[in-house]
């Protein structure tokens, strides 16, 4: 393990690391634009120039491999002059767009100009401007702001495996743009917005909605598929405006696919339901719960079936199972882990890199399975339908799943449901299943609840509410608690954390865990799957390949 000294501080580096990687891993910040821990080295912005003892010229930290005994200086006059030089060169053609640029507040150029005291350049000539180019529905491109760092080009080539962007022209006229197509529309192109250090590439869906510093940030999970990518939910005045990736080396590194990124739009979809209903008519939540409890009393518990859900949290599923066992006394508990329904944001038809969206479009198949297995519930959903049809099941509670569509045969489920004396459904959006409900209780969406999901790889991660639930919306576990209380069983759960800790004692995969101790990256419940190769695509310089194993700095 080579050791090097930076500004008098000795640090240890890993074999093959660059000076920049070693510095960042040890909390020493060397400014940079074109470097990104998961992309091949660019070496073109020249912002990370540093002084190395016994080396006459300044060297780029990102392109210099660490050698044992190296002595590095990052605060000398030469280095400071070089940095100010680079910043000034970047400013001379950069438009004064801050007041109208979405990147403001999260812009590397702004940040470094403040830090190194470069608020204006000495340039009085005519600025170079570029013709506007429309890149399609996702990306807004402003070439005048571009620093030519080539992060976008390298992302498309190295990570997305789809080399769609390149450089045109030469010298000061260099333009970043597509090869032949006129727009960039693949399923992961919004990651370019994250990695562009300035406002040259910004998100069209998000354009102009809020200033970055006015929004509140909540670290939570995307619920779009079983990958369980970590996200940051940005809210402003009670509205969720965008999702950006949060770093998790074990799950999504620092990437997020477009469908997942835009999945928050479902909160505001036309078919969103937020008030309780009886027989498809709005009612107040208390009377709906009373009606439901009354109907449940009139049917023998063991003839009542419960559908748990891979779309709900572990806490939801756990309490649903407890309700089934301790209150209803029924064996008829199932959940669907089958083919996907007609979600608005399903996987694209084009071949996707393996590390993005999963085929399973639910966030918690694995978690739900763990819980139901621990309770010994192994009823197949198909059997459940048969039992409804032959009268063995007389009442049905469906929690958080468009059950009819999940089963793949809507009409059969519909006619089966007609035989039942009572159907209660909880969900966040209207569907063919909610249409069957005599009592409907609205569910909070993923952005409005605390809890945990376990992803396809077996990692349990925390969900944190970014918004308060609207109107009557609540988590399934709260609905279940209300029903239990009306059926004579008083529970006292006040938080997801409490439920998780109790659950961990009885579900073997979570043995010994406690909610408050789950770190941001989550905890592996089962053996971690083989890591996928996050950098596909051929590079040019074989020996210049550097892949970082995640560092402390948030991907910017």
């Amino acid at each position: 393990m080579p050791k090097l000294t930076i500004d008098g501080v000795e640090i240890e580096a890993a074999e093959g690391q660059s000076v920049l990687e070693a510095a960042l891993a040890n909390g020493i910040h060397i400014p940079h634009f074109c470097f990104h821990p998961l992309l091949k080295v660019g070496g073109n912005c020249r912002m990370c120039l540093i002084e190395i003892e016994k080396v006459p010229k300044l060297q780029i930290a990102c392109g210099t491999a660490v050698r044992d005994g190296m002595v590095v200086f990052t605060k000398t006059d030469r280095v400071t002059n070089a940095r100010r030089g680079v910043l000034e060169f970047m400013l001379i053609n950069h438009p004064l767009d801050c007041p109208v640029c979405d990147q403001a507040g999260e812009c590397k150029l702004q940040d470094y100009c403040f830090k190194y005291g470069m608020e204006r350049s000495r340039f009085i000539e005519e600025k170079h401007t570029f013709e506007h180019q429309d890149l399609g529905p996702w990306l807004s491109k402003d070439m005048n702001r571009c620093l030519h760092c080539t992060r976008c080009i390298r992302f498309m080539r190295d990570i997305a495996g789809s080399e769609e962007l390149t450089l045109h022209e030469r010298g000061n006229d260099t333009v970043v743009g597509p090869y032949l197509e006129t727009s960039i529309e693949n399923e992961f192109c919004l990651n370019l917005v994250d990695i562009c250090p300035v406002g040259a590439l910004t998100s069209k869906p998000f354009r102009f909605q809020a200033r970055s510093w006015l929004m509140e940030k909540t670290r939570t999970l995307c619920a779009g598929c079983s990958r369980g990518c970590n996200v940051i939910a940005w809210t402003y005045k009670g509205r969720l405006l965008r999702l950006t990736p949060a770093e998790n080396a074990h799950v999504n590194q620092c990437w997020l696919c477009n469908p997942g990124r835009m999945s928050f739009e479902s909160l505001y979809a036309k078919n969103r339901l937020t008030t309780a209903m009886e027989s498809m008519t709005d009612t107040d939540i208390v009377s709906a719960l009373d009606t439901a409890a009354g109907k449940l009393k009139s049917v023998p518990g063991e003839k009542t079936a419960v559908i748990a859900s891979r779309f709900l949290t572990i806490e939801d599923n756990y309490l649903i199972c407890r309700f089934a066992r301790d209150v209803l006394n029924t064996e008829k508990v199932a959940f669907v882990s089958g083919p996907e329904d007609d979600s608005e944001f399903g996987p694209s038809k084009a071949p996707l890199p393996d590390w993005f969206m999963r085929e399973d479009l639910s966030p918690n198949s694995t978690g739900a399975a763990h819980v139901l297995n621990a309770f010994g519930y192994d009823l197949k959903p198909a059997t459940l339908i048969e039992e409804i049809e032959n009268g063995e099941i007389r009442a049905l509670l469906v929690f958080g799943d468009n059950f009819a569509a999940s089963m793949g045969d809507v009409s059969r489920v519909k006619s089966a449901a007609n035989r039942l004396s009572f159907v209660m459904v909880t969900d966040s959006h209207s569907s063919t299943t909610t249409d069957m409900a005599s009592v409907f209780i609205p569910e909070s969406t993923f952005a409005e609840k605390d809890g945990t999901y376990t992803n396809e790889g077996g990692r349990v991660q925390k969900l944190k509410a970014a918004l308060r639930p609207q109107n009557d919306c609540r988590s399934a576990w709260q609905t279940v608690q209300e029903l239990a209380s009306r059926l004579g069983v008083k529970w006292n759960y006040t938080s997801a954390s409490q439920i998780f800790d109790e659950m961990a004692a009885v579900v073997p995969e979570y043995e010994g865990m406690s909610f408050s101790d789950i770190p941001d990256e989550g905890i592996q419940t089962t053996k971690e799957p083989e890591p996928e190769d996050a950098t596909a695509g051929t590079g040019d310089n074989g020996e210049n390949v550097k892949t970082a194993d995640g560092n402390a700095e948030e991907a910017d």
Binding site: V41, G43, N44, C45, R46, M47, L49, K57, L58, I60, G63, A65, N81, A82, G85, V86, E88, F89, M90, I92, N93, R122, F123, I124, E125, E126, H128, L147, H148, T166, L167, E169, R170, G171, N172, D173, T174, D540, N541, G542, E543, N544
Partner: protein, 429 residues
């Protein structure tokens, strides 16, 4: 009169043909080299002290010795025939008038490093030299000199010509490799160096045309002979291409280390119209300009380095008293701005900025502080770029501004050219 080595055959009729080349003893040096071990070939070239003639002057033998003996990927020789440095016109004559010398040198180098493919990268504008080269390659191939069985020794080597497409930066070795691979001509980060990771990822030597053309002579007449033709560590002859305000511009082969004054006033007959010398560029536009008091320097790598300039390609550009140095600097900066590949910030932005400032000064819009600004920009560019192109812009501009500062300040103060050569529509009062 000094002995001619490279240019000895230039005036012979049909000098480019295989038959005449062979009649003059061509390809015997190759035969000699093929009978040696590759390591011995490298040692011989090291002994000769041959330094690269492209501009950097790096010892050729040492460069070859960096190529690893074993390699998973094939090894290559890239011959740099881009001849992009303004003022340079030596390689085109070797290509047109003695192409077989280049091929023989290339084959010797390939044998030494055990490469089986060589690419001669020639700037696309050189239609006629390319034709001569390709014809020579055909002749050599038909005669069993290039191909699977070079001169019947079992060594395989093929040579191809790759055309450039109008880019100065493709004369830089790693940009040349990128262009040869079919990509944008943008220089690569070093390390890794081409000798280890080069063309298509394999170990690659890049040598200038003139460098390789010396090899047959070195093998025929011995490395010590070659070294003795010039001063210590600067052996051999050099092709000096003299252009500009001299009576007899042209290509002159002279011993390395010939004094600049002798070249200008003896060989080239002095300044046209017997005017006063004002400035001389010693080795191509990227080398810092020299003032009349500095022309007693010997034209070799080390002597020029000592006085703060460079030998470069040996392209001597002579300027007399009618020349406006501000115009020269502006024209030059514009060249570098135009040719910049655009990869790294200082060169992409800085070279264009410098060009804009110089044009503004030349056209009468100069402001106080412009001279200091120019010098500061040169400092911010030099040494901070991916490749030496940034230095190639910064160092000459700094030299013009520093050595002829009075002219720049006069332009700024009066808005007009002191030399009076260029009418000025934006004359300041």
């Amino acid at each position: 009169m000094a002995e001619k080595v490279l240019t000895a055959r230039f005036e012979k009729p049909e000098s480019h043909r295989l038959a005449t080349y062979r009649a003059d003893g061509g390809y015997q040096a190759l035969r000699k080299a093929l009978a040696m071990k590759p390591d011995e070939v490298i040692e011989l070239v090291k002994t000769s002290g041959l330094r690269g003639r492209g501009g950097a002057g790096f010892p050729a033998g040492m460069k070859w010795s960096f190529v690893p003996k074993e390699s998973e990927k094939p090894k290559y020789l890239c011959v740099n025939g881009d001849e992009g440095e303004p003022g340079t016109f030596k390689d085109r004559y070797i290509m047109s008038l003695d192409p077989h010398a280049i091929l023989e040198g290339a084959l010797i180098c390939c044998y030494a490093i055990q490469a089986h493919t060589a690419y001669i990268y020639v700037r696309g504008e050189f239609k006629e030299p390319i034709k001569k080269l390709e014809d020579a390659i055909d002749e050599a191939r038909n005669a069993g000199i290039i191909g699977k069985n070079v001169l019947g020794t079992g060594f395989a080597c093929d040579i191809w010509v790759h055309y450039g497409a109008g880019s100065y930066i493709c004369g830089e070795e790693t940009a040349l490799i990128e262009s040869n691979e079919g990509r944008r001509g943008m220089p690569r980060l070093k390390p890794p160096f081409p000798a280890v990771v080069g063309l298509f990822g394999g170990p690659t030597v890049i040598n200038n045309i003139e460098t390789l053309a010396y090899l047959p002579h070195i093998f025929n007449r011995g490395p010590e002979w070659f070294a003795a033709l010039g001063p210590e560590k600067n052996g051999g002859t050099k092709l000096y291409g003299v252009s500009g305000h001299v009576k007899k511009p042209g290509l002159y082969e002279l011993p390395m280390g010939t004094p600049l004054r002798e070249i200008i006033y003896d060989h080239c007959g002095g300044i046209r119209g017997d005017r006063e010398l004002k400035a001389v560029v010693p080795g191509g536009s990227s080398t810092p300009v020299l003032m009349p008091g500095e022309i007693d320097v010997n034209m070799d790598y080390d002597s020029l380095m000592k006085i703060g300039s460079m030998m470069g390609s040996g392209a001597i550009i002579v300027m007399d008293e009618t020349t406006c140095m501000v115009h020269v600097a502006a024209r030059l900066a514009n060249f570098y701005a135009h040719e910049s590949c655009g990869q790294c910030t200082p060169c992409r932005e800085g070279s264009k900025w410098i060009a804009k400032i110089l044009y503004r000064i030349e056209n009468g819009g100069g402001r106080e502080g412009d001279v200091e600004l120019l010098l500061d920009l040169c400092d911010r560019i030099q040494g901070n770029t991916v490749c030496p192109a940034g230095d190639a812009c910064a160092m000459p501009v700094r030299a013009y501004v520093q050595k002829f500062r009075g002219e720049f300040e006069a332009h700024i103060k009066h808005g007009t050219c002191t030399v009076g050569n260029f009418p000025n529509p934006w004359k300041k009062d």
